[in-house]
């Protein structure tokens, strides 16, 4: 089997046995490792409201990277972006269905096999 065909076959197998909602979540919402870190952070700290600068500090990432990813997560409906005085702040969405999906994603990612598949999808999506 050619290299490209092998990859398509592997992709097909990995996608076939993944929860379609979680697969969609990975493909369209949490499609980078930084976003993965960020949604995990907000899942663990669901009452946090903070600026990109402070979230970057907690996450140990550069603020320029974090700012872009936070804005994309807000557009995807996972976070809420709001103004507080002169600051732009982010917090986890209040939408119960989205929070539930995030909780399922975080619970699933505790499983090594799911993590391997998710990592594969993210790497594939970033190419």
């Amino acid at each position: 089997m050619e290299g490209q065909d092998m990859e398509l076959d592997l992709t097909g197998r990995l996608m076939a046995d993944m929860d379609p909602q979680l697969l969609d979540f990975l493909q369209h919402k949490v499609n980078t490792f930084v976003k993965w870190d960020l949604v995990r952070f907000f899942h663990d700290n669901p009452h946090t409201t903070d600026t990109a600068e402070n979230i970057a500090r907690y996450a140990g990432r550069s603020v320029d990277t974090i700012r872009v990813e936070l804005a994309e997560l807000a557009r995807a409906g996972l976070l809420e972006e709001s103004r507080l005085g002169e600051m732009t702040v982010y917090s986890l969405t209040a939408d119960a269905a989205t929070r539930d999906l995030l909780a399922r994603f975080v619970a699933a990612s505790d499983d090594r096999q799911f993590r391997v598949k998710a990592i594969y999808h993210i790497i594939r999506g970033t190419r």
């Binding site: 700290n45 009452h47 946090t48 903070d50 507080l84 005085g85």
Partner: protein, 253 residues
């Protein structure tokens, strides 16, 4: 007058019954002295013994750390959060300050919805990065403390003191003027062993115990014990036996 009890054995007696309602109470000490434990105990006691929901504003530690630390004392913070009696909120000084200045801000809504009466702010030291100008810094903290009082909260505010033992470092002591009570936790060395000492430095509008008391962190939390007796210079970190000082001063050799 009505008091807000901390539930810490010995401390409420030192405070003549507890903190005064809707006051800001500073707890300062070196790392590991028990500032956060004192604050968590104040929050836990409020929820479980006084039916007063609590809020923990953390500027550094993740909520998980508080759940774990509290569990060591048998305090189930996760359950209290699920029951809507506690909220552990990780945020930053600038955001919480700006939020308190907003009408209908998140904190205001939370206080109203949960009926929050007590707050632990851990720690005030993080405000120090907002300004290097002591006057501006004082104004910032003053505004924050007033915001908490405006919400009707009784607050315990922790502050780090880098000096493990001996004299305080050169931290801005003007913060002491902004708060209603000021509790100092110190390490002291007595006969080659480290002990912990607690002192109520000030309590606005109330009498309080002026003694320097020994305290311990037990499996049930903080317990304040008897005053150090026969010792002087406790706050220096290396006290002397009073009888030795007497001999040194008055007995001819």
């Amino acid at each position: 007058m009505e008091r807000v009890k901390t539930g810490i054995p010995g401390l409420d007696e030192m405070l003549r019954g507890g903190f005064l309602p809707q006051t800001a109470n500073l707890v300062e000490g070196a790392p590991g002295t028990g500032k956060t434990t004192l604050g968590m105990q104040f929050i836990y006691h409020g929820i479980t013994a006084c039916d007063e929901p609590g809020l923990i504003l953390t500027f550094e530690e993740f909520p998980q750390q508080y759940y774990n630390d509290a569990a060591n004392f048998g305090w189930d913070f996760r359950r209290l959060e699920r029951e809507g009696k506690l909220r552990v909120m990780m945020t930053s000084p600038e955001v919480s300050r700006a939020d308190l200045e907003q009408v209908g801000g998140r904190l205001e809504r939370l206080v109203r919805q949960m009926g929050v009466k007590r707050v632990l702010v851990d720690s005030l030291s993080h405000f120090e990065r907002l300004s290097e100008d002591p006057a501006e810094m004082r104004a910032i903290v003053y505004g924050f403390i007033n915001g908490l009082k405006r919400e009707g909260l009784t607050a315990v505010l922790t502050r780090e003191n880098a000096a493990l033992i001996g004299e305080n470092d050169a931290a801005d002591d003007s913060l002491g003027f902004l708060v209603d009570s000021y509790i100092l936790l110190r390490y002291v060395e007595i006969e080659s062993a480290i002990h912990k000492a607690l002192l109520v430095l000030k309590m606005r509008g109330s009498d309080h115990d002026k003694g320097i008391r020994r305290f311990e962190i037990t499996e049930r939390g903080l317990e304040v014990r008897a005053p150090f007796e026969g010792q002087e210079g406790i706050l220096s970190g290396s006290p002397r036996r009073m009888v030795d000082s007497f001999v040194q001063a008055f007995v001819r050799r």
